[in-house]
Amino acid sequence: MRTTVEVGRDVLAEKRAAAHEFRAERRRAGTLVVQLMSSPGSGKTALLEATARAFAGTRRMAVLVGDLETDRDAQRLSPFAPAVQITTGGACHLEIPLVRRAFNRLQPGPIDFLFIEDVGNLVCPAAHDVGQHVRVLLQSVTEGDDKAGKYPKAFRTAQALVISKIDLLPHVPFSVEAAIADARRIQPNLVVFALCALTGAGVSEWVAFLECQRDRLLASHDSQEVTSDDSNSRA
């Protein structure tokens, strides 16, 4: 006997529902969740160090950081903020169950910002909702200004782009204008920052953006939650 069962649903719908729940819980706790996504070596951890320095004494933040192996990033960040390493053991991206488990392990207490530093990869993390309110992409000037067209899903689902390592601009053939134009062809509403985490140039604008996103989130209600999962960022 043969039966056909119609499903007609996104394979990731259940995980997305779990991510929505995490997102709503964090909002009620007054925490903005920011996912950072980039190629390896674009400066995600350096940006978080600079962010923590800027927030020192005024804002509480915590970090969940994903890598295939080692806890090097969590060690780098721990002088600045509570940080838990998620070692994926080879998996190329974070998913909501890993995020929730790491968050429970961290038990950061009341925090204003939770950063989720995804595995360095511009492909797979873009397909997974990790419970973030804001998805931020980093693109360093040493990577070339043509990444957006090559990795459309990552750029399509992001709300902000951070162009990092701008202190190296005199030494590399990178056009900030071309990078922004390429990115906005894919995602017209992308907010863009150009900064250098080492010198601190541009960091204050980035921090102001985070504050503004958090204010917006806290002013919203369950029904009009600021979300950044795929289905919402399509619009």
């Binding site: 006997m1 043969r2 039966t3 056909t4 069962v5 119609e6 499903v7 007609g8 649903r9 996104d10 394979v11 990731l12 259940e14 995980k15 998996a91 190329c92 991206h93 998913e95 492909v123 797979c124 873009a126 397909a127 997974h128 067209g149 459309p152 899903k153 399509r156 906005r184 062809r185 894919i186 017209p188 509403n189 795929d230 399509r234 619009a235």
Partner: protein, 111 residues
């Protein structure tokens, strides 16, 4: 290669349906669009590795469909350029082609 984890998720859902019907999975039908972030060949080989013996995966590769929210034009973008070909607005909504969709499953009852 996240196709492995996508297939794990897909099989978990398909096997739940099969268990409810006290059946085995015969064929799983999915559709994949160009913005799904999924490589069909890798999906197929992940399925062949993880699925129970006898189960097959059928992949329908669909086009990206977009609607311009400014002028209402519906189009299939070339080379993933998502701005409207009619009015050049960037305010466009993806209607289909940005997800891995589990469409249906056929089940077979071993007698």
């Amino acid at each position: 290669m996240h196709e492995m984890s996508l297939v794990e998720e897909l099989l978990e859902q398909a096997e739940r349906i099969a268990a409810e019907h006290r059946c085995q999975i015969e064929e799983v039908f999915v559709s994949v669009g160009p913005l799904a972030g999924v490589e069909p060949q890798l999906l197929q080989s992940a399925f062949d590795t993880l699925a129970p013996a006898g189960a097959r995966l059928v992949i329908d590769e669909i086009a990206l469909r977009v609607r311009c929210e400014s002028c209402g034009q519906e189009f299939e973008p070339e080379r993933l350029r998502l701005d409207c070909p009619a009015c050049e607005s960037g305010n466009c909504k993806v209607l289909a082609g940005d997800a891995l969709m589990f469409q249906r499953v056929t089940l077979i009852r071993p007698d």
